[in-house]
């Protein structure tokens, strides 16, 4: 091995170690926040579990929007389909094991991802955005009309999941659902960290910057994006299933344009193209929404709007993105 190759190998090993360190730190932060949340809000675990489910939706959106540059305002289609798939499996087919319900949700999300991907990826830019809006309305209307399966506007009620692993019943205080959600989030986060750093993740980042260059390398942007849409569907579907299992009801709001738009707002708030950004945006937005709506039920939306304007104007990379950029500049200045 030449000296130059050895230096490259050492640099690569250092880079790998640094990334592994960040992965472990990220995982530790998720678990630490989960413990803090449990201790600080023991009577509001339902909110924290809902936050975890939405975090999965925002992570899923980050995969297609942040990492691949796909513009979408219809991503709740994947989340809602996952929720309905888990709910319908339980209510109509008697599949009440929470892990099997989760599997159904993931499968439903993948199918929805495939459908949405096939339609949305046919266009770019504004037409793509319009297609995504049309899709979420179609999904919503379909769920509304198929009321014998979905409960229509009344929602799909009567979901009664079995105890988790046959041991932990889903209690009234939501402890089991909370722990289930946090473990699910930690597992998904870890897997996604590996995926976004993989050759596939690199290919996706390339497509976001320049699909023509990627084609000139002999790779198909469309096939790659379809694959990412299906992965994204699996993640959003898992979030939907978690929501169905924890609340034991699935409403049409899980397939709404509003949820799609809110998830995009959360992503932009935290910072696109970073899994940490997606988590930050979800936590900040949902806490802010909860606190402000309780403090001032009449003007809370105004305050949420003001927060968003402030972030977009003064921290265009999002909260996490801006902090990460400042930290990088500081590190480079010290070198």
């Amino acid at each position: 091995m030449t000296m130059a190759t050895m230096n490259d190998a050492l640099a690569a090993a250092r880079g790998n170690r640094r990334k592994l360190g960040r992965d472990l730190a990220g995982l530790a932060v998720i678990l630490a926040l989960a413990v803090v949340g449990y201790l600080l809000f023991p009577n509001n675990l339902a909110l924290l579990t809902r936050m975890t489910a939405i975090a999965l939706l925002v992570l899923s959106l980050d995969l297609v929007t942040g990492y691949c540059g796909v513009a979408t305002l219809g991503h709740a289609a994947l989340f809602g389909t996952g929720a309905y798939a888990a709910g319908i499996a339980a209510v109509h087919f008697g599949i009440t094991d929470p892990l099997l319900m989760l599997g159904c949700g993931i499968l439903g999300g993948i199918v929805a991802g495939l459908l949405c991907g096939v339609v949305i990826l046919r266009a770019h830019g504004l037409p793509q955005l319009v297609l995504s809006i049309a899709l979420i309305h179609l999904f919503h209307e379909f769920a509304n009309k198929a009321s014998s399966w979905t409960g229509g506007s009344d929602g799909l009620a009567g979901i009664a999941p079995d105890p988790l692993l046959g041991l932990f019943a889903f209690d009234l205080w939501g402890r089991t659902a909370y722990v289930f959600g946090i473990v699910l989030l930690a597992v998904v986060f870890t897997l996604l960290r590996l995926v976004v750093r993989s050759p596939f993740g690199m290919l996706c980042r390339g497509i976001k910057e320049d699909p023509i260059r990627i084609r000139a390398m002999g790779a198909s942007p469309k096939v790659t994006l379809m694959k990412m849409y299906m992965i994204s569907g699996a993640v959003a579907g898992a979030g939907g299933a978690l929501n169905a299992i924890s609340t034991q009801v699935v409403g049409l709001d899980s397939l709404s344009f509003t949820l799609s738009a809110e998830s995009l707002v959360m992503l932009v708030l935290g910072g696109t193209g970073s899994l940490f950004g997606a988590l930050t945006g979800t936590i900040v937005f949902m806490f802010f929404e909860d606190i402000v709506s309780a403090a001032n039920p009449f003007h809370w939306l105004t305050m949420v709007g003001a927060l968003l304007i402030a972030v977009v104007l003064f921290a265009p990379k999002g909260l996490y993105g801006t902090i990460a950029a400042v930290a990088t500049r500081w590190r480079e200045a010290r070198r």
Binding site: D8, S198, P199, R205, E209, I212, A216
Partner: protein, 254 residues
């Protein structure tokens, strides 16, 4: 030697305007050909036609004897027809090492892998280090492309193309926009290209053309008006008239 790359009677019109008019050429492995012509001669259209980004009205494109006229752009790259771009098309937030690694992984059919990291793949890293070293980019290997000089970005374009192990390489103005002080490095990179690789270079810089090419093709109004040795190109009256007028006169005056 049999042709590795062949274009037969390639025609394409936009409305009534023929931008590629019965263009035919053949190249053998190791050929160094320069394609020149005045602005609007149809050089870019020619590249788009052979790379599959434009469909010809008629004619054939062959690589290694296989007719690839109906193969799409991606399929052509996979068969060894690789191009570089006139205006650098690189990923600004990625490093040169990532660019070359992605090309190597794509070539080997491993770019779709969901797990693993190229930094931990010794075979990929060895190839990345080798190519980056050959093109003099080792010090910039792990810096983001936006942070490296334009001349180095042009070299990276060539590195990415070579990482795909092409059989035919189309270089679209490899020295375009590069400061005079850096063109030497590009010329060296061109001189060091694999000897069995067929290279077709589109270039405006005639000094570079004469130093690089062993054969020059001149395109004017979508038609090949000259195909021969560099020493003869300036003597051809049609070429003088269409393109080289001022350069040839300047050469005679000197």
């Amino acid at each position: 030697m049999s042709a590795i790359f062949e274009v037969r009677n390639l025609k394409r019109s936009f409305g009534g305007l023929a931008v590629s008019n019965d263009v035919s050429l053949a190249m053998a492995p190791g050929d160094r050909v320069a394609l020149i012509g005045p602005n609007g001669a149809g050089k870019t259209t020619f590249v788009n036609l052979v790379t599959g980004n434009l469909t010809p009205d008629s004619g054939e494109v062959r690589i290694g004897g296989e007719d690839i006229t109906r193969v799409n752009a991606i399929g052509r790259v996979r068969r060894g027809l690789v191009r570089s771009f006139q205006v650098t098309r690189l990923f600004q937030d990625m490093t040169p090492a990532e660019h070359v690694a992605l090309a190597v992984l794509q070539r080997d059919g491993r770019a779709g892998r969901l797990f693993g990291n190229y930094l931990a793949m010794p075979d990929v890293m060895a190839e990345v280090g080798d190519l980056i070293g050959k093109l003099g980019l080792r010090d910039q290997m792990h810096r983001r492309v936006r942070e490296i000089a334009y001349g180095q970005q042009r070299l990276l374009e060539i590195a990415v193309a070579l990482a795909l192990k092409p059989r035919v390489l189309l270089l679209d103005e490899p020295a375009a926009g590069v400061p005079q002080s850096d063109t030497g490095r590009i010329e060296q990179a061109l001189a060091d290209l694999p000897p069995d690789l067929a290279v077709l270079m589109i270039e405006h810089d005639m000094d570079l053309v004469f130093r690089f090419a062993r054969r020059v093709i001149v395109l004017a109004a979508g038609t090949i008006i000259f195909d021969g040795s560099p020493s003869d190109v300036t003597k051809d009256p049609r070429v003088r008239e269409a393109y080289l007028g001022s350069y040839a006169n300047a050469g005679h005056a000197a």
